[in-house]
């Protein structure tokens, strides 16, 4: 089947979903009111509450939620064939992610622009807020570990991308400084920075001297490294330490100094990447060589598919962006449909691209099975295949393959690194908040909280060991990331359902995706915790067993709370009730 056809089918369903389903939700369920005074107007302060043009707000919302996760998930899930992945991405976006992102936005707009965490407290009670904080804590911890692993591995596999990625740091600091001093607008400096970065990337792809390859410095793959480890494991260890030092600094600096200017450069990469790869797709017209479904899979797709693809089908993280930030800037309530629902569609389009890039990369189906031989192989190879596949698509615009590979790897690394430093910062805030909650004020200190965040993340990424020994086990955390993300989404959907029930509206459209996501997550966790990670499981692993069990208990807790809520135990008055 042609890759173009898949893209067109996906886009058509997204378009129909937006045109009809989101309209139905907006009019019949949320009953958006064009005359409602949004928090952006009511509490207008020029800082947090600013009425913003809907296209501008969508652009910002989309660039905040898009990252490496919607690329990595589908790239792994293609193991079960492209059809299951495509169906889950397309239908998940239309019926689950769209409703979730749109719903959290409306819920927050109707409640002073408060975040879902605060709303959990008000709608369900103190216990729900703590539950919420712990799940976000686990989620950001997983994000830190998984993306640190991803970045370190990509640095080892694509040494030509190291220098361009590191050059981004001084460039970002320079942009931050120039713009903060008010000397210029940020478009020109950030485009200049991108040009410098890509210039360095092109040179580094061709000049071996500029490729920072730690494995080669040790004397190649078979050579011995430090602490009695092999060269590859040592390189991995060194990269993790460097990354952790970097995120420590990045997450304690004021955001305008490093984080935001990096985001500007990365927004260009996102736009440029999407445009180039979709144009490349239409010029090269590649055929899907991955199987439609994989009947000989060693791991069943049900329920694992639904946690392997988290972002791109439904993601709890989006609710944090919708409710914390975007809700405070919404100009008119009716625009929530565009910002929230179309934001989720944007993420779906990114996931669709990942499916096509991976699905069309292999020359034949047997080549596909040579790489995607088992689920473990798929986990390890997924992202690398996306990079290779995307560079073939970029080749349609006559970009030489070695340069295209470097550019795509830089794009993926930049996304992963941004997710990494944002989530370390988020983790720092949550540790501080838990410190206040449990009366341990020391935890609220910047360096104490950051040290705990960085220390636990480093431990988590270094501990699990895969088949290739030290440093190869980071992918084992991917299902845990997916699960905690889905749990967060489930709680947010529950909050929307509680709110709708209280208003006497029909909440079926919210409760169905919630039950579905919850059931799949529970099932997948139960299966993995008991049959794989426990001491009598196939791949006994104490660390994963403990983490998985904690998530499992949280999931049960959410279900109990949801049942209590739905049977009407909690009935506190809310602003939106009036």
């Amino acid at each position: 089947m042609s890759g173009i056809l898949i893209a067109l089918i996906g886009m058509a369903v997204f378009a129909l979903g937006y045109r009809y389903y989101s309209k139905f939700i907006a009019e019949k369920i949320f009953r958006l009111d064009p005359n409602y005074v949004t928090p952006a107007h009511k509490y207008k302060d020029g800082v947090d509450f600013v009425p913003t043009n809907k296209f501008v707000l969508w652009g910002h919302h989309f660039s905040s939620i898009a990252g490496a996760a919607p690329i990595l998930g589908p790239a792994i899930a293609l193991y079960w064939g492209w059809l299951p992945a495509l169906l889950w991405v397309v239908l998940g976006t239309v019926f689950a992610a769209g409703v979730h992102d749109f719903g959290t936005l409306v819920l927050s707009v109707r409640n002073k622009g408060q975040s879902v965490g605060t709303l959990a407290h008000r709608l369900v009670g103190q216990r729900a807020k703590i539950l919420f904080l712990f799940i976000i804590l686990i989620l950001v911890l997983m994000v830190n570990a998984v993306f640190a692993w991803v970045v370190a591995n990509l640095f080892i596999s694509y040494p030509s991308s190291v220098l361009p990625v590191f050059i981004q740091i001084p460039l970002a600091v320079w942009i931050g400084y120039v713009v903060y001093k008010g000397k210029t607008k940020m478009l020109i400096p950030s485009l200049l920075a991108l040009a410098v970065m890509y210039g360095v990337a092109i040179i580094a792809s061709r000049v071996e001297f500029l490729q920072i390859d730690i494995v080669q410095y040790f004397g190649g793959e078979g050579a011995a490294g430090i602490f009695g480890l092999g060269a590859v494991s040592s390189a991995f260890f060194i990269w993790i330490i460097i990354l952790m030092i970097y995120v420590y600094i990045a997450s304690t600096l004021p955001v305008w100094k490093l984080l935001q200017p990096r985001d500007f450069i990365n927004s260009h990469q996102l736009v440029l990447g999407l445009v180039i790869l979709y144009i490349g797709l239409f010029l090269t017209n590649p055929q899907m060589t991955a199987p439609v479904t994989n009947s000989g899979a060693d791991t069943p797709w049900l329920p694992l598919l639904f946690i392997t693809i988290a972002c791109g089908a439904i993601s709890g993280f989006h609710g944090l962006v919708s409710s914390g930030t975007s809700a405070k800037q919404l100009n008119n309530e009716t625009e929530a449909r565009f910002v929230g629902y179309a934001g989720a569609v944007g993420e779906g389009i990114l996931a669709l691209l990942s499916i096509i890039a991976v699905g069309t990369f292999f020359a034949t189906q047997s080549d596909f099975f040579a790489t995607y031989g088992s689920f473990v192989d798929a986990n390890e190879a997924g992202l690398g295949v996306f990079i290779e596949g995307a560079s073939v698509l970029a080749g349609g615009l006559a970009i030489p393959p070695d340069i295209a590979t470097t550019l795509v790897s830089i794009m993926v690394i930049s996304f992963a690194a941004t997710s990494l430093d944002t989530s370390v910062r988020l983790m720092r805030y949550i540790i501080g908040e838990l410190g206040i909650e449990y009366k341990v004020p020391t935890l609220n200190k910047k360096h104490v909280a950051t040290s705990i965040a960085v220390g636990t993340s480093a431990a988590l990424v270094l501990l699990p060991e895969g088949p290739q020994g030290f440093g190869s086990g980071g992918y084992l955390l991917w299902p845990l990331f997916g699960t905690s993300n889905q749990l967060l989404a489930a709680i947010s959907l529950m909050l929307i359902a509680v709110w709708l029930k209280r208003l006497g509206r029909n909440y079926i459209a919210v409760i169905i995706p919630m039950i579905f996501v919850m059931a799949m997550t529970l099932w997948a966790m139960f299966q993995q915790v008991i049959f794989e990670w426990s001491w009598f499981g196939t791949e006994s692993n104490t660390l994963l067993f403990i983490l998985g069990s904690i998530i499992f208990v949280f999931a049960i807790w959410i279900i109990l709370t949801a049942v209590q809520v739905m049977t009407g135990k909690y009935d506190k008055p809310l602003d939106s009730d009036h």
Partner: protein, 85 residues
């Protein structure tokens, strides 16, 4: 055509600068809050030798003060000295 491209660039610039403008505004507001605290520290019991003079600014800051206490989560003015609402 040129107009449309210009509009597109302006739109793009606005998307990019939105979070940045917000951060700069926040930092300025924090500085303002500190400044106000210095000016009217007397009202919360911290002695201020130039209070007599800073009080002259009182009429100019009533509106700002109202925004401030709302922002700090207080529906009504917390200070009996400043009666704004």
């Amino acid at each position: 055509m040129l107009d449309k491209v210009k509009k597109l660039i302006e739109f793009y610039e606005e998307v990019l600068s939105m979070p940045h403008r917000q951060e700069v505004a926040r930092e300025l507001r924090d500085e303002d809050d500190l400044f106000l605290l210095l000016l009217y520290s007397e009202m919360i019991g911290i002695p201020n030798p130039v209070y007599y003079y800073t009080l002259e600014l009182y009429p100019y800051m009533i509106e700002k003060f109202h925004d401030w206490h709302l922002r700090m989560g207080m529906e009504k003015s917390p200070l009996t000295g400043i009666r704004c609402c």
